[in-house]
């Protein structure tokens, strides 16, 4: 599978700031009219002075994307992720350079592209399908599959303005999910809808990956990128900063984030799950001295301060802090009930809860933190997923001259070792295990 699906060379995209504004108006442009006329006549001379408001959204991107690769494109806002996808999708044109795309390319840059409120579900399937590049015959052939996937079959002939948001999302994604192109571009589509829907979408995108199709995936959800992609591209200020296995690229991206963010205040639109009697409003991650910290060393103490907002009466609550790797693998489940001195949070007013993980023995890497609250393990009152990231560095382990990565393990424990037998002097010098342990 080493064939190149997309070859990008020297790709650059330039915006004048004015072009990124919502629109131009004649009243702004008419004064510039004379200049425009002279430009149209091909005389770009003195008037083309360098403009300080020029923006290079992409600068000199060169990449080869192999067939069958599922690639996550990560980077901060404005790093050029979406511009790159838009150029590959041919929505906008590059300023310099070129890209060669081998095979048909489908885009999933938005859920519900081309939907119209007045049309029925059935009509919208055909319309959206056609806009996304399917032929009428394709859509007919896959129509039943699309309907089954969307689960809106009983409302097929109802105008979609009467649909619930969930139904609309499912229908829209169903159409897009049945594109049969060799290459798929996916941008943030998974950011919408409920958890169940997101899970379904993720599974579907995962299937695409299994079929050996090439996919480029932009998302701010590190967990989604990690779960889906094998390789990653890190963009920064319009340049490629790193290419490689997804875990490496992510680590580079996240460690570039300098850890200045002290308290994570959850924005109001954060996805909360649970019955909602309380809300987690902020999380502080501190080191053993009480300083806000995101970068720890192996063996450090981690201290999570969780601010809880009281909303409605509820039975007393237990808490848990769940730590997962970027790839979504659960590592630690820190549960308040495990502490015999724990007294449940009384839900009467706002409270602050502290969870301390001493002697952090996680392997070096970046981890995601989720917080859960509930009266019993089976009942969740509040759950916020992946709201915080922290990094663990080798620290004291480095001295052992061994690079620890997730390919070796996730949790590091010191262990006791001894040679119990050597063939020549059998059984004469067996060390006492107990005394060895005491010596530690």
């Amino acid at each position: 599978m080493s064939d190149i699906a997309i070859r990008i060379e020297g790709l650059a995209k330039h915006y004048r700031l004015g072009e990124k504004e919502p629109y131009l108006a004649l009243r702004d442009v008419l004064p510039r009219g004379l200049r425009t006329v002279s430009q149209l006549l091909g005389k770009r001379t003195a008037s083309a002075e360098p403009n300080s408001r020029d923006i290079w959204a992409l600068r000199d991107i060169s990449l080869d994307i192999a067939q069958g690769d599922v690639i996550g494109i990560i980077g901060r806002n404005g790093a050029g992720k979406s511009t790159l996808l838009k150029i590959l999708a041919r929505v906008t044109r590059p300023t310099r350079g070129f890209a060669e795309v081998r095979g048909r390319l489908g885009t999933l840059l938005e859920v519900g592209t081309g939907f119209h409120q007045e049309l029925t579900g059935r009509e919208n399937i055909f319309l959206s399908g056609a806009i996304l590049g399917m032929s009428k015959a394709d859509i007919r052939r896959r129509f039943d599959e699309i309907v089954a996937f969307s689960e809106v079959d009983s409302f097929l002939d109802t105008p979609i303005k009467h649909y619930s948001t969930g139904m609309l999302m499912r229908l829209a994604f169903a159409v897009a999910a049945h594109l049969e192109t060799e290459i798929l571009l996916i941008d943030e589509v998974l950011a919408v809808g409920d958890t169940l829907f997101q899970k379904k979408c993720l599974e579907r995108v995962g299937e695409v990956a299994q079929q050996g199709r090439t996919a480029l995936f932009v998302s701010h959800s590190m967990a989604a990128v990690a779960a889906l992609c094998r390789r990653g591209i890190l963009l920064e200020h319009g340049r490629v900063q790193a290419v490689g296995p997804i875990a490496n690229v992510m680590n580079q991206y996240l460690s570039a984030d300098d850890g200045t963010a002290e308290t994570i205040n959850l924005p109001p639109q954060t996805q909360h799950q649970g019955s909602g009697e309380v809300r987690v409003t902020a999380i502080d991650l501190k080191d053993r001295l009480g300083h806000a910290c995101r970068h720890f060393e192996y063996g450090d103490d981690l201290c999570f301060d969780i601010s809880i907002e009281y909303r409605h009466p509820s039975p007393p609550l237990h808490c848990s802090v769940d730590i997962r790797t970027l790839l979504g693998v659960p590592v630690l489940h820190l549960y308040s009930m495990d502490d015999p001195t724990w007294a449940p949070v009384k839900v009467e007013s706002n409270s602050l809860v502290r969870c301390v993980l001493s002697n952090c023995d996680l392997y070096p890497g970046t981890y995601l933190v989720s917080v859960w609250l509930g009266p019993s393990p089976s009942r969740g009152t509040e759950l916020v997923r992946d709201i915080l990231q922290f990094h663990v560095d080798q620290g004291s382990l480095r001295r052992r001259g061994f690079d620890m990565t997730w390919s070796h393990g996730l949790v590091h424990r010191d262990s006791s070792w001894a040679v119990l037998a050597e063939s020549t002097a059998a059984q004469s010098q067996v060390p006492q295990l107990a005394s060895h342990l005491q010596g530690l």
């Binding site: 064939d3 915006y15 072009e19 990124k20 919502p22 629109y23 131009l24 108006a25 004649l26 009243r27 442009v29 838009k86 150029i87 590959l88 999708a89 041919r90 929505v91 906008t92 044109r93 590059p94 300023t95 310099r96 350079g97 070129f98 890209a99 060669e100 795309v101 081998r102 095979g103 048909r104 390319l105 885009t107 840059l109 938005e110 592209t113 081309g114 119209h116 007045e118 049309l119 009509e123 055909f126 319309l127 056609a130 806009i131 996304l132 590049g133 032929s135 009428k136 105008p159 060799e182």
Partner: protein, 293 residues
């Protein structure tokens, strides 16, 4: 293009599972003046059909009286023109009954005006789609001028009724009618291309369009016959392509008036220029539209 390079590369991957090598497309910066991929446009004909179909569906779903509107609009306008321009202002009508005289002109005119309105807004209305998916953008103005053809056809049916009522029957010149219908469509497309591109880039352009359409109507022989214009200026008058179209409709349908010969030459030439220019301008704008809308 890159065909040569791509072809040699494909040789080495021939053993792949796919039947035949997958097509290679090269994405490049916009090139010069003429960058029109007609093959791609042709491949998008199904999409064009869907856009037209959607336009028509929505229009008939949104208006309570649906198809009746296609008939009522020209009919009511005809009544008003007959009363004011005809009975009161005593405008000459080349010997035709006023209702027929006006209806013959309103038929292409209404199509033209609706098409312009559609085309002006089509890019802006579809901006969400444009910024998310690629397809040849030309499909949009094409759909904008194609959709009103249904209304045109319906109101054409009414014309037959009016003609029977007045006992006016077309002569052999009726055979030339398709030519004038095509001229009307191409005119609408030619202007529509300009308007849709201009409105995409200058968002306040849409306020100019209703005035433009109104002025244009008075510059066209809708409410009066072009015979009012002195013969020696007739060719100049023909620079307005709708003058040729409207006179052509009256002539082929009722046999009255003169075959708009000198007028027609000027009209056809203008339309050709407008459409070619419009296509080029639209193409040029196409490459920046996604960045602007």
């Amino acid at each position: 293009m890159d065909q040569a390079g791509a072809a040699t590369k494909e040789k080495s991957v021939d053993s792949r599972t796919q039947v035949g090598a997958p097509p290679v497309f090269r994405i490049t910066p916009p090139k010069g003046w003429f960058d029109l991929d007609l093959r791609e446009l042709w491949k998008s004909r199904e999409l064009l059909y869907f856009f037209v179909w959607r336009e028509i569906k929505i229009r008939y779903k949104q208006t309570a009286i649906g198809a009746a509107w296609a008939v009522l609009q020209p009919l009511l306008t005809m009544a008003v023109f007959t009363l004011f321009f005809g009975r009161l202002a005593k405008m000459p009508s080349d010997g035709l009954p006023y209702p027929l005289f006006y209806y013959c002109a309103l038929l292409p005119w209404m199509y033209f005006a609706t098409s312009l309105q559609n085309a002006t807004n089509v890019i802006v209305d579809q901006q969400r789609v444009i910024t998310k998916v690629f397809f040849p953008r030309l499909v949009l103005p094409l759909a904008a001028v194609a959709a009103p053809l249904l209304d045109f056809a319906i109101s054409f049916g009414l014309l037959a009724v009016i003609m029977v009522y007045y006992g006016t029957y077309p002569s052999i010149s009726l055979l030339l009618l398709p030519f004038f219908v095509i001229l009307a469509i191409v005119t609408a497309l030619g202007i529509g291309l300009w308007l849709s591109a201009l409105n995409a880039i200058y968002r306040d352009f849409r306020y100019v369009v209703p005035f433009l359409v109104q002025f244009w109507m008075f510059a066209s022989p809708v409410a009066y016959p072009s015979s009012l214009v002195p013969e020696k200026w007739r060719w100049l008058y023909g620079i307005n392509p709708m003058a040729g179209v409207i006179e052509g409709f009256r002539w082929t349908l009722t046999g009255s008036g003169n075959p708009p010969s000198s007028l027609l030459v000027a009209s056809s030439a203008t339309v050709l220029l407008l459409t070619v220019g419009g296509t080029l301008y639209f193409q040029k704008m196409e490459s920046v539209i996604a960045d602007v809308v």
